[in-house]
Amino acid sequence: MSETAIIHNRLPVLRAERGLSRKALAEALGVNYQTVGYLERGDYNPSLELALKLAAYFDLPVEMIFSLQPFTPLSRMAASGKGD
């Protein structure tokens, strides 16, 4: 839906790691629960403020959560790690 560049994100993985529902994450960030779904699916891009809030919430650098390039799947990262 967004007319700007697609921003890829790791929100579903980070949320799953912490056992959070979209609603719980939305409440923690002070946004509507449907907004989290829109961000996860890439329907809309987050504002800088929201991206920084998410980075602070997950205690990660913002580039670990959002990227202009697709993230490498964890399975491929694990496979390449085994090969080293």
């Binding site: 509507n32 699916r41 809309y44």
Partner: protein, 196 residues
């Protein structure tokens, strides 16, 4: 300009995207259709039918009024998040384009209708004509941003719907709306009988 009807609990009631779209079509088509039917006919039955269409469009508006899309359009900005505020700006930009086009077309029509007596075009003259136009403009300006949102917002997935308020049994409300509709129609018939 828009309008949002916040529920007493503050939760957003579930409205399927299809039902919201159908209600918006009922508002956008029903109100002008009802007014035109009332304008062109002197027959009481058709007059009541015209009023019925207007009533349906008003009820449809109040169906949309507490919905998620209308919340984005009409809630105070401080209660919206970043994405919702961005969506509102886009919805308002669309509404501005449509409403200015409609206003320009209406002014052009009125200019021709008032100036060229050979065409004998209809032009609003009485208080009831201007009253109908006023409420038409009001209802269109209220619903137009929600219309854009209802057709452009992505469908929520199953996980999104987990956060929505549970669907309540609407029996009592259907009776309330029916009572209001019957009251309105009775008032109209009585007014016609007394004035006729």
């Amino acid at each position: 300009m828009s309008f949002y009807m916040r529920t007493a609990s503050g939760r957003i009631p579930h409205r399927s995207r299809v039902s919201v779209r159908a209600a918006i079509i009922a508002v956008l088509a029903g109100y002008p259709a009802g007014c035109i039917v009332q304008l062109v006919t002197d027959h009481v039955a058709l007059d009541i039918f015209g009023l019925f269409l207007v009533l349906v469009s008003v009820l449809a508006f109040f169906w949309v009024a507490p919905s998620y899309v209308q919340r984005i359009a009409g809630e105070v900005p401080s209660a919206l998040d970043d994405v919702e505020r961005d969506l509102r700006h886009r919805a308002y930009a669309f509404s501005y384009t449509v409403l200015t086009a409609l206003a320009a077309a209406a002014v052009f029509y009125l200019a021709v209708a008032n100036d060229d007596t050979r065409l004998t075009l209809w032009a609003p003259q009485s208080y009831s004509h201007w009253n109908a136009i006023f409420f038409g403009v009001l209802i269109y300006s209220f619903i137009m941003p929600a219309a854009w949102l209802a057709w452009t917002l992505p469908e929520p997935d199953a996980e999104d719907l987990e956060g929505e308020a549970p669907v309540r049994k609407g029996r009592a409300r259907i009776w309330l709306w029916s009572l209001l509709a019957v009251g309105g129609m009775t008032g109209f018939v009585l007014a016609r009988l007394i004035s006729g």
